[in-house]
């Protein structure tokens, strides 16, 4: 009877009996892992009593917001924890052997061979001074695998396998020649070199464009199916989870709050934190009433005609490279309207924002603001008009001067435009209230606030100038999904109450769909499609737009339905 007892005990460990993988021993099992943070941190544990399994042939997604400790367990498995963090208790069992108890030499032998990892930044994860071929052979050399001529052949096979064109030539290329997506493919090829049993992917697609992300996700799923590896995929993006996960583990502040099959967690979330996260996932707006705020017959506040910006690099001796960052772009926007500019990286969407604020010189075209062409104005002529056009920046950590108090940050702009100190301060306090911040924030420094709070301060700073047009350049991209939802709601509310025209630049189509009245799709400096979100999302005409829409992760999963169904069940 031993086989049955064995079966039963496994069943007890894994209550999800419908999962095909539960019958086998887990490839990796984390048991009660706790890692303490140094004293004086915001919480005592980086990870507390964490347990989960990864089986061969499945993709486990670890989801959580920043600071939830989702990457920490990945780093603990591969042994990349910083010196001041030591696991206090628990086990990391890889094929039954506790990684935390192994000496460094054994671990070193396992890394790359049994467990491989791919990182978030393909730009910095490759050594810029070695060719692609050398970097991949190095993995095999340190493990003495594929000796002699077989090694070179293996490199070519790997590059071919991850879908890179012309492997023979690529072997001798330097990393800087490759695009972000290609570098991530090289990283994956390196990770696969020795056919590891476990692949850890720490936000591998976060730094990539949505179209590239779709390709990389497809690649990871394909190699996982073909090689039967276990994959641990750390991400913050529920769309990505919906796309690839077999099972999902949700983390909050170092605790594992929920785990289960993708089906369970995404469509019937049980834990309130998971429900909150899923409710915050940006999605198409379903309220047609919102469009009423912009009056269609109003005359446009800003009209851009044939805007052109060209970057020329390479000087006297180098080869001249001409990049048309913005090429013949025209659009207009009315008061109270939100115009979204979407596109991949390098599509010129941020350059448009810079041009509108005259932070960069333009090479042609007209920008009619309230009927007056602001393009030919000199810096001194334009300065008094600057208060009408404001900007919300991408990085909440770089956009506030760390040496000024919040009050000063909010008052400096109005005071430069002739508002008295008393009036400016009074208004700053009102604005803090408007962006739902504590009035005590006035005398504190930006360093004391979280990313979401800083972004609110950034919004308040833009509003302090009482502008008619706000350009928001990736204003919520650096924020966690739940914070993102709050900031978006705030932005929309304020914008409609004050009837400000908003140009919202983003790479995230979900966000654009949620907030914008009309969309501008850009590719390589040109507008390829323009129209209301409903039309762009449901009936895209341009092939690039179609490709963009098709690559949105988790298109088939509807978070609204998940929460709605959940709510009815709970009521």
């Amino acid at each position: 009877m031993p086989s049955i007892r064995n079966y039963v005990s496994v069943e007890l460990n894994h209550p999800m009996s419908n999962d095909t993988n539960t019958r086998t021993e887990p490839l990796l099992a984390i048991r009660n892992l706790s890692i303490a943070l140094p004293k004086g941190g915001d919480r005592a544990y980086a990870l507390h009593d964490l347990s989960y399994d990864i089986h061969a042939g499945e993709i486990l997604c670890i989801v959580g917001e920043s600071g939830s400790g989702k990457s920490m367990s990945a780093n603990a498995i591969i042994g990349l924890l910083p010196d001041y963090l030591r696991p206090e208790q628990g086990q990391i069992l890889f094929n039954g052997c506790d990684l935390l108890k192994q000496p460094e030499e054994v671990l070193r032998g396992m890394r790359g061979q049994d467990i491989a990892m791919i990182f978030q930044e393909p730009l910095s994860a490759l050594n810029p001074l070695l060719t692609i071929g050398e970097q991949i052979t190095e993995v095999m050399r340190v493990h003495h695998a594929y000796p002699g001529a077989a090694r070179q052949q293996r490199v070519l096979d790997l590059l071919n396998f991850v879908g890179l064109p012309d492997p023979a030539a690529l072997c001798h290329a330097w990393p800087f020649r490759l695009s972000g997506g290609q570098r991530q493919r090289v990283m994956i090829a390196m990770a696969l070199a020795l056919e590891p049993k476990l692949l850890i992917a720490d936000e591998p697609t976060t730094a990539l464009d949505v179209t590239t992300q779709a390709q990389i996700l497809e690649l990871i799923v394909r190699i996982q199916r073909e090689k039967g590896m276990g994959v641990m995929f750390v991400t913050h993006d529920f769309g990505v989870v919906a796309e690839i996960a077999d099972r999902v583990a949700v983390m909050e502040k170092g605790l594992l709050v929920e785990q289960g099959t993708a089906q369970q967690v995404l469509n019937r979330p049980r834990h309130p934190y998971t429900r909150r996260l899923i409710a915050a996932v940006p999605r198409h707006r379903h309220d047609p009433g919102a469009a009423l705020y912009s009056v269609p017959h109003d005359k446009p506040l800003l009209q851009v005609e044939n805007l052109r910006k060209t970057y020329i690099s390479g000087g006297l001796f180098g080869k001249r490279r001409v990049v048309h960052a913005v090429d013949d772009v025209s659009f207009s926007i009315r008061r109270g309207e939100t115009l979204g500019i979407v596109g991949g990286s390098g599509s010129g969407k941020s350059t448009i924002g810079k041009c509108l604020l005259k932070l960069t010189r333009i090479d042609g075209g007209r920008m009619l603001f309230d009927g007056e062409d602001i393009a030919p104005l000199s810096e001194t002529q334009f300065r008094p008009k600057r208060q009408n056009i404001q900007m919300i920046f991408q990085d909440p950590f770089a956009s506030l001067n760390p040496r000024h108090t919040v009050g000063r940050i909010l008052c400096d702009g109005p005071m430069a435009n002739g508002v008295t100190r008393r009036l400016a301060e009074q208004r700053a306090r009102q604005l803090l209230q408007l962006v739902e911040m504590d009035a005590a924030a006035f005398d504190r420094y930006p360093g004391e606030f979280s990313g979401g709070q800083r972004q609110r301060i950034g919004i308040a700073r833009a509003l302090a100038m009482e502008p008619q047009l706000i350009v928001a350049d990736e204003a919520v991209s650096a924020l966690d999904v739940s914070v993102q939802a709050q900031v978006l709601r705030l932005l929309r509310e304020v914008q409609q109450r004050l009837r400000i025209a908003l140009i919202f630049i983003t790479h995230d189509l979900h966000v654009a769909a949620q907030i914008c009245d009309s969309l501008l799709v850009m590719q390589r400096g040109r507008v390829v499609e323009q129209g209301p979100p409903a039309q762009i999302f449901d009936a895209p005409r341009d092939p690039y737009t179609q490709q963009l829409i098709a690559s949105m992760p988790g298109r088939d999963w509807d978070p609204v339905a998940a929460i709605a169904e959940d709510a009815t069940r709970h009521v």
Partner: protein
């Protein structure tokens, strides 16, 4: 501040510097007379007479008084010339870094012109042309020491100018002068302070070298002059040149230690390691 206090070298440096400052301010209490006055018999050995603990030189001048008054001169020249060099360097660097383009090119070529000439040689020439005096020495030292400051400030400005908070200031209609002074400069302050503290030490050394070569201010007793004067008596009274030499060494060491301490305290990369 805690990080600075935790650095033992920096604290020692600070104590030494405070001692030197005390000496300089109490010099007139020790002897109301000019340090140039001949007060006792020449070549009095040190530790022999209570009134003249370090003895007298070949003209009967009190070496203790010379050292105390010399501290005044060294510190004054060191700080004044650093101040002048830093102010000038910041002005050039800020304008070049903020504006870029041809303004930057022009100013940087000028800076490089000054950097290609050996510092001490140029300082000597300048002092010789303008007659040795306190002003010409301060002027000459600051003339040769501003280029590194300008380059440092320029590079800080170039990177800070790209930061979003500076762009936000431009967007809100603040004038360039205001942005330079209130937005960028405070954020570039730490490396400038560190460089300035190390420059003070170099300035003291340069002043000593000038005085040693006889290009010091004739009315001011300085450590460099004392070494220069006692050099001829090196075999008869070796200690006579030892005392001002020690004074220079300790002061420069103290200032360098402070500079290192400030550097470590300001440098965010070292913060984690330090605590």
């Amino acid at each position: 501040m805690h990080r600075f206090a935790a650095n033992r070298g920096a604290v020692i440096g600070l104590i030494l510097l405070v001692l030197v400052l005390l000496c300089a301010s109490l010099a007139s209490l020790w002897s109301a007379q000019s340090p140039w006055a001949m007060v006792a018999q020449p070549l009095l050995a040190p530790f022999f007479d209570h009134a003249y603990p370090l003895g007298t030189d070949m003209l009967g001048r009190d070496i203790t008084a010379g050292l105390l008054y010399g501290a005044r001169v060294s510190l004054m020249i060191g700080m004044l010339s650093t101040l002048a060099a830093v102010v000038f360097g910041i002005a050039v660097g800020a304008v070049a870094g903020y504006n870029g383009g041809w303004v930057d090119d022009l100013l940087m070529r000028c800076t490089e012109f000054f950097q290609t000439i050996p510092q001490l040689a140029m300082a000597m020439v300048l002092v010789a042309i303008f007659k040795p005096s306190l002003y010409s020495i301060v002027g000459a030292i600051s003339m040769v020491s501003w280029p590194p400051v300008a380059r440092l400030v320029r590079s800080e400005f170039m990177s800070l100018k790209q930061r979003e908070f500076v762009q936000a200031a431009i967007v809100s209609g603040q004038t360039p002068a205001r942005i330079i002074v209130s937005q960028i400069l405070p954020n570039a302050a730490s490396p400038i302070i560190v460089t300035a503290s190390l420059m003070t030490a170099t300035a003291i050394l340069t002043e000593s070298a000038l005085s040693f070569l006889g290009l010091g201010d004739r009315n001011l007793m300085s450590w460099g002059y004392m070494i220069g004067a006692s050099r001829t008596m090196l075999r008869e009274a070796p200690l006579m040149s030892l005392w001002p030499g020690l004074a220079i060494m300790l002061t420069v060491l103290a200032i360098n230690l402070i500079g290192e301490g400030l550097n470590d305290a300001f440098n965010p990369q070292l913060r984690k390691r330090g605590t």
